[in-house]
Amino acid sequence: MPYFNRLPMIAYDDVDPADVTPEHVYRNRRRIMALAGGAVGAAGAALVTGCGDLSGLSAAAPQPTIAAPGQVNGQTDELGDQLNSYDQVTNYNNYYEFSTEKEEPAKLAKGFTTAPWTVQVGGLVAKPRTFSVDELVELFGPEERIYRLRCVEAWSMVIPWQGFPLKKLLEAVEPTPKAKYVRFETARKPTEMPGINRGGFPWPYIEGLRLDEAMNELALMVTGLYGKPLPVQNGAPLRLAVPWKYGFKSAKAIVKIDLVESEIATFWMKSGPTEYGFYANVNPEVPHPRWSQSTERRIGEIRRRSTLQFNGYGQQVSKLYEGMDLKRYY
């Protein structure tokens, strides 16, 4: 682990380094609050929130706390897996709109404007509406979730996101009975996203979920990570996180959400029809045409670990696929 923590840190336009909570403080913030609260009493807690450096406390009790599924309580997910560092999460990104090289999006992200930004929600709904990102957070969030992210390329990370359940947003616009699928359209700004100009891909990036998948408690609309505003390379200002599916399902920089009647031809289904299906559930039993999906490398680890069915979220999502042949609907 220490090896990877020394990766260079990238500064972002929209984040002043002085405002960024050091990672070790972030990881221990609940304990810090508890300790501080205990020390100064309930009335003092208000003062503590304005405190600058509490880093000394983090070394005091290095006991990993384990979170419930999707809830941030400490340094690990509900399986006891360590969080990936902020540097790892923000410097190793698949974001073809910027580049096919994983370290490039962080560098190319600087010229990308994320404000003002609106999301148009419509299609088969009773109350179509355009939201600003701030409005969305105000109305539906924010809450914190620690999710595993399993890339289709057989690597993975554990990431603390902030956001709100997609379900809340969909309920607000009232899908009509005809609505069966949710279509996500993402930003297509060739002047700010140099990768789009390379051609060969059917831009804009389109993703989709079945409505019942989208209504699942785990499907999260993300606006932040590690308690900070979402960096551009991670999908700012608004992205999806569907942790039981391969990472490419979790579309970034979303500008439009439509409820539709039939299955959506997604970006990757159009780009590689023989390789990518609509569902893209994490499944060690169904290999990618070009590689096995039975193992993955957790970023920061050397040896490959076994991939879990539904990325370990079977309890929450397997009922969505009852009676379906997952080898056929991959």
């Binding site: 090896y3 990877f4 020394r6 990766l7 540097d87 790892q88 410097n91 190793y92 096919t100 994983k102 370290e103 690597w155 390379r198 051609g199 060969g200 891909f201 780009s271 590689g272 390789e275 290999p287 045409p289 070009r290 590689w291 096995s292 039975s294 193992t295 490398r297 970023i299 920061g300 050397i302 040896r303 490959r304 670990r305 076994s306």
Partner: protein, 209 residues
Amino acid sequence: MAVHVGSLIPLARLVWDGYTRHLTANPIQALTQRTGYPALVLLALTLACTPLNTVLGLRWTVPPRRTLGLYAFFYACLHVLLFTTDYFFLVDEGQRWAVLSQQLVEKNYIVAGLAAFVMLVPLAITSTKGWQRRLGRRWRWLHRALYLAAPLAVTHFLWNAKGGADRNEPLVFGAVLAGLLLLRLPPVRRAAYRWRAQSTARARTLVLE
């Protein structure tokens, strides 16, 4: 000397980037990719030597051919070693044979790459002057296996690409390779000879006039 220095640059850069922690957050994958790529480039350069001599008369390109080929093999060895150990030393040791065999046998792009590598082994072994003497005429035939191994290696690269613009680079490799192989066909080679003889003759007459 220049050939040694040039061929070792990718290795030096890997070592340097490893030392300065610049092998991305997924260093094993970066190492695997960054050893496969120079192997391909060096294979193409190995195959460029002969046509550069026959078509353009650049005689100095012939002697480094063996060295270039051996460096290509060296990077290919590192590449294959990294890949197989990666899938062998799994956290779940019980899974290793199943995963390894699935990776090595069932995946077309791996089969192509592995076939290319296996073909390079006897070529590397018989690359010495001693083997050249011992095998005589057969040596040339054996080493024509490279005409098959190199396209297989490029196919491996192409099949590993994600699609769309990702295929551009492997396709460029493929086009260059096709050109280099085409220039070896006897009629093409003879035409090139004739063209060269004529142009030198023309140059001579110009000088005489």
